[in-house]
């Protein structure tokens, strides 16, 4: 995984600079660019887009650890597989990989680290079949410290290779937190799902996640170069330009030009995350999802589609304890129906959605 040699990074940075038309700058200055300035999507080549075999990529994130992302990911994957689709679930919680356990795959022989280390060049050798028909997994297990700290080039390589997997649906189980890779994969997917539990800690983290994704999306959009300085300002919550909320940013951008404001608005409209409420116990818990949806709309201008909720069920911890997939271990749990409902709804409503990066 030493793919981050200065020359490689520099090459990409060079391309990027040329693309952004800011003119060539010296090698020394280029090295000072932080990873946050690099746009991974700009490097997904046309050829990799043309060789796409995967129908849709779903990503499950949420900011807080322990809310059930792996559970939701594995359950959705199983649901899709049982509906007849070919599914590959990828554990992107590097350093915290649990997906294999929730799918009942004890010790996978090949994992993502084979790809990240450069031992293999494509993702196909990393795929491991599960006991569930049509469902396979790329596990993050057996990872080394290096894997947990992969860099920009690894991310780009993954983004290029994922659509070429021999499968219909790819489910990305993202890690907790709001680090750059997590956010970028969330923005990369065709369908991005936020998992929340009805607790203030989860809600706070979710908002932090959405905020980060929101600004990152704006930062990566090519049409907003003229107001990028404002976006950078807004990302610093203690900025002294008085930009506190997205509305403030919009107002500032609009002042530069209404045209830029329009472009910003269009960019945000393309960010359409979905919401899954997990571990609900009461109707009030379910309603929190609706409230979060309203607040998101009001604060960010984002349309969060509340696609469903999953009740708290003690079957979950029991299944995990047994290291067996919930959907198979407790087929009579109401959760199975709920998960299937969510899957069907997303397929029905967003079956043909593709992210245009």
């Amino acid at each position: 995984m030493d793919g981050n040699s200065p020359e490689e990074v520099f090459t990409i940075e060079n391309d990027l600079l040329l693309e952004k038309d800011t003119g060539l700058i010296s090698k020394e200055s280029a090295r000072e660019l932080s990873e946050a300035d690099l746009n991974p999507f700009a490097h997904i080549t046309e050829s990799s887009k043309q060789n796409r075999r995967v129908k849709q990529i779903w990503a499950i994130g949420g900011g807080k650890g322990g809310v059930g992302k792996s559970l939701v990911s594995s359950s959705l994957a199983i649901s899709l597989a049982r509906a007849g689709h070919k599914v590959t679930a990828i554990d992107l919680d590097l350093g915290g990989a649990n997906l294999h356990t929730t799918l009942g795959v004890d010790l996978p022989k090949q994992t993502l680290s084979d790809f990240l280390s450069g031992r293999v060049q494509t993702l196909d050798p990393c795929v491991v079949e599960t006991a569930i028909p049509r469902l396979s997994i790329i596990s993050g297990a057996q990872d080394s410290v290096a894997v947990a700290n992969s860099g920009f080039t690894d991310k780009v390589r993954m983004m290029q290779k994922i659509p070429q997997l021999d499968t219909d649906y790819v489910i990305l189980d993202l890690g907790a937190g709001t680090n750059l890779h997590t956010i970028d994969f969330f923005l990369y997917a065709d369908i991005s799902l936020l998992t929340l539990i009805p607790e203030p800690t989860s809600i706070e983290n979710a908002y932090r996640f959405v905020k980060t994704a929101y600004f990152r999306k704006l930062k990566l959009s090519s049409g907003l170069n003229d107001v990028m300085h404002l976006i950078d300002l807004a990302m610093d919550s203690k900025n002294n330009a008085g930009i506190k909320s997205p509305s403030d940013l919009f107002r500032a951008v609009n002042n530069v030009s209404p045209e830029a404001g329009m472009r910003m608005k269009r960019e945000i409209e393309r960010f359409q995350p979905k919401l899954v409420m997990n571990q609900t116990r009461t109707q009030a818990d379910v309603d929190i999802g609706l409230n979060v949806k309203s607040v998101c709309k009001r604060y960010f201008g984002i349309d969060l589609d509340y696609v469903g909720y999953l009740d708290y069920d003690s079957a979950v911890w029991q299944a995990v304890r047994r290291k067996r997939p919930l959907m198979l271990e407790f087929p009579n749990s109401k959760l199975v129906t709920s998960v299937d409902r969510i899957t069907q709804y997303v397929l029905k409503r967003y079956g043909t959605t593709r992210n245009t990066l």
Binding site: E199, S247, K265, A284, N291, V292, R298, Y299, S338
Partner: protein, 328 residues
């Protein structure tokens, strides 16, 4: 979709997150939903907005509702904003308008299939035939059906939204919340108890008195009836009265109504009971009252509106009614 960013171009419908052709029930439900989302105790605000941010929003929500809940004001607003009045209420008075919106809520076409109709009294000069109002459960503060719940969550788009099936199947998963609701009449309208905001009603019990912007003069909507004055002193007096009451006569109803500063007109508007009946009830004019099955409904409705327990009022009153009829 309207961004919050465009404060000046958002409509009242955007504020409540409903489509311009929403029914009064949907508007009310959306209003309660919006209030709950931006209530300062709302978990959904945590870490994102503080009181100063939400103050303005709550004000907008209240204003929006005060306009959109009144048929006349809403019509005027729609006209001014070039919105087609897709919810145009034909005919005059409450009767016609109400029927149309009930029909739409039930998902029927504009033909109402069955109406509970109270037989008119002998001398109803100039009085329109009144329909018995569908049950609005005032104790819960939200009479929204599962349907409007899912319609609402599906966004403000118009007809072709696919609703999340999670919310559309009352027998599907979800907390089996059956406790706490005397929802018999609701069920007859095809609503399911599961969709109701049990959580919300629990919250309202613990909340302090409603914001003072809820001026009675602003509350004219069909659902939020001549709202009794929220005066703790009055509440206390009434509580005392109720505690010590033995007879439960019409006079008590009148007393409480007056304490709450609700006029007969307002009570009639809110409960859909004709003024003549209301007066007859208060004056114990048994000859002018309808059959017990209707009378019972009226009494419950009145009690609910005036925020007093309907038992033992209803049983006492009905007993007295029947005795007097038997005596004839």
């Amino acid at each position: 979709m309207s961004l919050p960013l465009e404060q000046d171009t958002q409509t009242l419908y955007d504020v409540l997150e409903v489509s311009p052709d929403a029914s009064p029930n949907e508007i009310r439900a959306a209003y309660l939903r919006a209030k709950s989302a931006f209530n300062k105790d709302s978990l959904a605000l945590y870490s994102l907005m503080d009181d100063s941010d939400t103050e303005e929003l709550i004000r907008q929500i209240e204003d929006a509702f005060s306009v959109l809940s009144s048929i006349e004001k809403r019509r005027d607003y729609d006209r001014c904003h070039g919105l087609l009045s897709m919810h145009a209420e034909p005919g005059s008075g409450f009767g016609g308008g109400r029927v149309t919106s009930i029909a739409r809520d039930l998902g029927h076409s504009d033909k109402v299939i069955s109406i509970d109709r109270v037989p008119p009294m002998e001398d109803t000069s100039g009085e329109p035939d009144l329909l018995v109002a569908p049950r609005t459960d005032f104790s819960s503060e939200s009479g929204s059906s599962l349907e409007s719940f899912q319609r609402r969550q599906a966004g403000t788009g118009l007809s072709s939204q696919i609703n999340s099936p999670m919310f559309s199947n009352p027998t599907g998963p979800g907390p089996s919340s059956t406790s706490g609701y005397s929802n018999g009449p609701n069920k007859s309208l095809g609503q399911s108890a599961q969709g109701t905001f049990q959580g919300n009603s629990n919250q309202t019990q613990n909340r302090p008195s409603p914001p003072t912007s809820l001026l009675r003069s602003q509350i004219r909507p069909a659902m939020n009836v001549g709202l009794p004055t929220f005066d703790p002193l009055v509440d206390d007096t009434i509580r005392q009265l109720v505690e010590h009451e033995k007879d439960w006569k019409g006079g008590l109803i009148r007393q409480i109504r007056e304490l709450r500063k609700v006029s007969i007109e307002e009570l009639s508007e809110g409960t859909k009971i004709s003024k003549s009946y209301l007066l007859a009830i208060e004056e114990e004019n048994m000859g002018k009252l309808p059959a017990p099955v209707y009378l019972r409904g009226f009494l419950v409705q009145i009690a609910r509106t005036l925020k007093i327990p309907h038992e033992p009022l209803v049983s006492e009153y009905i007993t007295r009614y029947q005795t007097s009829r038997a005596g004839k």
